[in-house]
């Protein structure tokens, strides 16, 4: 028997993911221990760490990163669970689901800018109050950039909650929740209590890795933290980036040590979370079987729906705010709407951004295409050869999401230079695959595994080989989840900033790199234009993922539910 391509797929996939992360980490490790010949650092020393520990803002920056990361993850998860527990299977749930999933495609920075304009003391909400109260000046309140990072947490929650919800929705069908819930409710348990007792314990292991990805992201996030987070001092990730960008090149050593500390901090947050999981599981064991039928059902349900709707509304209103800004003439506090309207911002930046649209989508399509082929090949390998990845292999798969980007991207840039790859379109696509692949796997694996194996058995019984079974049974039946996973991947690719900039050497500009450069000018009109263009690019694949199955199955009624 020759080596089949599917058999080699898992190994190839891991290589594509781990090679860059390992090369990048090596490139960070060296300067953290004083090695950087370009800056005449030739001796191994602990000086960069001593220097880092001597920075007076360190304890607070570390505490901030941990607190905001843990809190944002906890709130996102709690809301996701409450919404599902209280409303799964209802009309309200479907409405919320429909409102939340497109929010996935809104780039983090755009959502953060929109939120900032809503909640700032001179923002839209304040303007609504200012008119009747006759305020001429906004109140001097510390809402954005507050020292505890509360607005940063809010900004993360509105973006991470839809992601967790989507992952939950992907995992749920395999658990057949309707049957379990009906049984529990027949026994007199309230809807929420029943969900917590019979669904959640089986669901959580399925969404654990996405939760960890959210936690790691929240601890090390840079763009949202720069817009909404505190600055005196900022969270550690932002400070590391500041050191990396410091004109004093000697700061590169401190930055590398800080990047390693950030990595350690992310691991610590994950361990803390794991510890809490174990403790909670122990504490909950008795509650699960104690027979309590549930209290405050109504309150919990209202909380879930209320906060879910609120967070969808915040992102949507924020986007509308940015859209208004993109057409605004002069617009001062406390006016609710601009004094004048103008197409100028779109005329100035529209053509330039439109030109970048094509390249951005090319990179997104190629990288998510590669990721989807590798993911599908891995999942086929499971089906055909029983090569189901162990838990450890899965961890490796998520490594690019768990290791903070700024801990390995600068090192990866040097690796790219050494191989002569950097600055090319191919290199940018390759590095996008690293970040896109985990999401592709995360989105596709559950529907793939949940597909009833008896369909394949029937196909085999009818004399079809594995190839035909794949193309004629699995592909058509999985078309919708496959396209959804591809859309999630493409949206992730569209949003990549640091990897595109560092590996592309500025010579492969995309919508996102251009948008961030233009946004550094701080004009809300320009930010409105660029954020909307970015959102449109990320939303396009989602639209296609909805449209294609509808067209393909327009005369196959049984296939439409996907």
């Amino acid at each position: 028997m020759g080596l089949s391509p599917t058999r080699a797929a898992p190994a190839l996939t891991l290589l594509a993911l781990l090679g860059p992360v390992a090369a990048g980490l090596a490139g960070t490790l060296a300067p953290a221990f004083g090695l950087m010949p370009a800056l005449s650092g030739t001796d191994v020393s602990l000086e960069p760490f001593r220097d880092l520990l001597g920075w007076p803002g360190l304890p607070r920056a570390v505490a901030l990163s941990l607190f905001t990361g843990l809190a944002a993850t906890l709130v996102s998860l709690a809301l996701t669970v409450l919404i599902c527990a209280g409303w799964q299977g209802t009309h309200a749930f479907r409405a919320l689901e429909r409102a939340l999933s497109p929010l996935l495609s809104v780039p983090h920075a755009a959502a953060a800018f929109g939120l900032a304009f809503l909640i700032a003391p001179s923002g839209w909400i304040a303007r609504l109050i200012a008119q009747p109260l006759g305020w001429e000046r906004p109140p001097d309140l510390l809402i954005l950039q507050d020292p505890f990072g509360l607005s940063l947490i809010a900004g993360l929650v509105v973006k991470e909650m839809p992601f967790l919800l989507l992952m939950t929705l992907a995992a749920l069908p395999a658990l057949r929740p309707a049957q379990s819930l009906a049984t529990a409710q027949a026994l007199g348990y309230g809807r929420v209590a029943a969900w917590f007792k019979v669904i959640l314990p089986r669901l959580y292991p399925q969404i654990r890795l996405p939760v960890y990805a959210v936690l790691a992201f929240s601890v090390s996030v840079v763009d949202v933290a720069m817009i909404l987070g505190p600055g005196t001092p900022p969270p550690l990730a932002v400070q590391v980036l500041r050191w990396m960008n410091d004109p004093d090149l000697a700061m590169r050593f401190r930055a590398a040590a800080g990047a390693l500390l950030l990595l350690a901090l992310t691991l610590a947050a994950l361990l803390l979370w794991r510890g809490a999981e174990i403790t909670l599981a122990r504490l909950a064991a008795r509650w699960l079987v104690a027979g309590g039928r549930g209290h405050c059902e109504g309150l919990l349900r209202a909380l879930g729906l209320g906060f879910g709707a609120l967070s969808a509304a915040l992102v949507l209103l924020g986007l509308i705010g940015l859209a208004v800004w993109s057409f605004a003439g002069l617009w001062r506090f406390p006016e609710l709407l601009p004094q004048g309207w103008s197409l100028r911002s779109w005329m100035r930046h529209g053509p330039e951004l439109l030109a970048l649209f094509g390249r951005t989508l090319l990179i997104a399509a190629t990288s998510s295409g590669i990721a989807m082929v590798l993911t599908t090949a891995c999942l086929e390998a499971e089906q055909r050869h029983g090569l189901r990845p162990g838990t450890r292999a899965l961890w490796l798969l998520y490594l690019p999401l768990l290791v903070p980007q700024i801990a390995f991207l600068p090192g990866l840039q040097v690796a790219g230079l050494l191989t002569g790859l950097d600055g090319t379109l191919a290199a940018v696509i390759a590095v996008h695959v690293v970040f896109v692949l985990p999401y592709a796997f995360l989105s596709l694996s559950d529907p793939y595994r949940a597909l009833d194996p008896r369909y394949a058995a029937v196909a085999h019984a009818l004399g079809r080989g594995p190839g035909a079974t794949f193309w004629r049974v699995r592909v058509p039946m999985l078309l919708r989840p496959w396209l959804t996973a591809a859309a999630v991947s493409a949206a992730v690719s569209v949003g990549q900033y640091l990897p595109t900039l560092l590996i592309g050497g500025g010579r492969v500009p995309t919508l996102t790199t251009e948008a961030l450069a233009l946004a550094s000018g701080g004009d809300r009109r320009v930010i409105g234009v660029t954020a909307l263009a970015q959102t449109a690019a990320a939303f396009l694949p989602f639209g296609l993922a909805l449209l294609i199955p509808a067209l393909a199955w327009r005369n196959r009624r049984g296939m439409r539910h996907g």
């Binding site: 370009a38 800056l39 191989t419 695959v433 450069a517 946004a519 004009d523």
Partner: protein, 410 residues
């Protein structure tokens, strides 16, 4: 020594599957003294100019430069838009770390101050070349010291100037008719109007500039500032500054618990009526913001009594630049009267010119005479004297101390 062979076998993901681009041929280094040879070499080259891309008037000016360069010299200009100049510095450093000593990704950088000082110190710049440019003859470095010293660090021909900037304050006359015009008056005004003033958080360039401006006005020993900080009595030179800031901070916007990130954010704060006074390093900034609908047309500019800090913007060529000849052609073109007059126009950039009027022909001078003045732009006379920058070591020390005093406290 081990760098070269590593290129071939470094296992890097999908490297093997993708074609490796051939290394660029090594040209003889372009020599600006032989300008005709430079022009010949430059023809057909593509120059990647890494410049901050956050201002549309800057982007438009660079686009226009590209057309001019293509038409006149056959040089293609690509603007690599940065959100921070340090990105370009990091890039050159990464290339040096990887041993890429030729064919680098950056040909020209818009650079200034600390970034220049750092690159010069680390030997990351090509040169000297700038004083051999034909149009250098149109400047008068003896009359304008800012052309040969960037933050007091001698440029030594490693960078070429292209625009003059000066610290200028602005205010909305409809809300604040008579702004305070000295640091002492500013602190007093802030005490009566708490929460109506702030400055960008150092080490943001403009925030640090504000600290230096205050230091110059408050220090008892101005002469010490031109020396490296190690050679001066730092504690007694800066004590009045810290006393002044201690008094000012509780009266700042958000009581100094948060600061705007940069100059652009400060324009937004003035537009949102969160603060009453802003400042910028471009004398034309307020006029630009009015033209962009960012500020109302009641905004006017002012400078502090006794003058304000000023310096020149430069372009530099990295040591490993791929198109050095093309980069020099662009730098020379930036010094041409045609480009300088366009740059100086408030409708374009509004930077001050680096050329000396007495070295231009009558036709060339006319280009500048025809420039209209923006509604909120001060005339050169109103701008008043330019104060020299302190030695860059002061800025580093000030930023460090500011951060431990005000930047890391909740």
């Amino acid at each position: 020594m081990i760098r070269r062979p590593m290129r071939n076998w470094l296992p890097f993901g999908l490297a093997a599957a993708l074609t490796v681009t051939a290394p660029t041929l090594a040209f003889a280094e372009a020599d600006p003294a032989d300008w005709n040879a430079v022009l010949v070499e430059a023809k057909g080259q593509t120059v990647y100019w890494n410049a901050w891309g956050g201002a549309e008037n800057v982007n438009a000016f660079i686009d226009w430069m590209g057309e001019l360069a293509q038409e006149n010299y056959g040089v293609t200009l690509e603007h690599v838009k940065l959100s921070d100049t340090a990105e370009a510095v990091s890039r050159v450093l990464a290339e040096k770390s990887a041993g890429k000593d030729a064919g680098g990704a950056i040909d020209l950088i818009w650079i200034n101050g600390e970034n220049f000082a750092a690159m010069k110190r680390q030997g990351l710049l090509f040169g000297p070349w700038s004083e051999a440019l034909p149009n250098w003859q149109l400047t008068d470095p003896e009359a304008n010291a800012a052309l040969t010293a960037d933050f007091t660090v001698p440029t030594e021909g490693l960078e070429s100037p292209w625009g003059m900037a000066q610290l200028v304050f602005y205010h909305d006359t409809a809300r604040l008719p008579r702004p305070p015009r000295s640091m002492a008056a500013l602190a007093e005004w802030a005490e009566q109007n708490p929460g109506r003033f702030t400055y960008p958080q150092p080490p943001d360039f403009l925030g640090s500039t504000f600290l230096k401006q205050a230091l110059i006005e408050l220090t008892p020993d101005t002469d010490a500032l031109s020396q490296p900080v190690e050679e001066a009595d730092y504690a007694s030179a800066t004590a009045p500054l810290w006393d002044w800031l201690d008094a000012l901070t509780p009266n700042l916007w958000r009581q100094g618990k948060a600061y705007p990130q940069n100059a652009q954010r400060m324009i937004q704060l003035v537009a949102d009526s969160e603060i009453d006074i802003g400042f910028e390093f471009n004398p034309n900034a307020a006029s630009n913001a009015i033209a962009n609908f960012q500020l109302p047309d009641t905004v006017r500019s002012f400078v502090l009594e006794g003058g304000s800090l000023g310096n020149a913007s430069f372009v530099a060529i990295p040591y490993n630049a791929n198109a050095k000849a093309g980069a020099m052609v662009i730098a020379n073109l930036l010094l041409s009267p045609q480009a300088q007059a366009r740059m100086a126009s408030p409708d374009e950039l509004g930077f001050g010119t680096v050329l000396a009027m007495d070295r231009l022909s009558d036709d060339q001078v006319r280009l500048f005479d025809e420039i209209p003045v923006g509604i909120a732009t001060l005339t050169p006379e109103e701008l008043g004297p330019t104060l020299p920058e302190p030695h860059p070591s002061w800025m580093e020390k000030l930023e460090e101390d500011w951060t431990s005093r005000y930047g890391v406290a909740p």
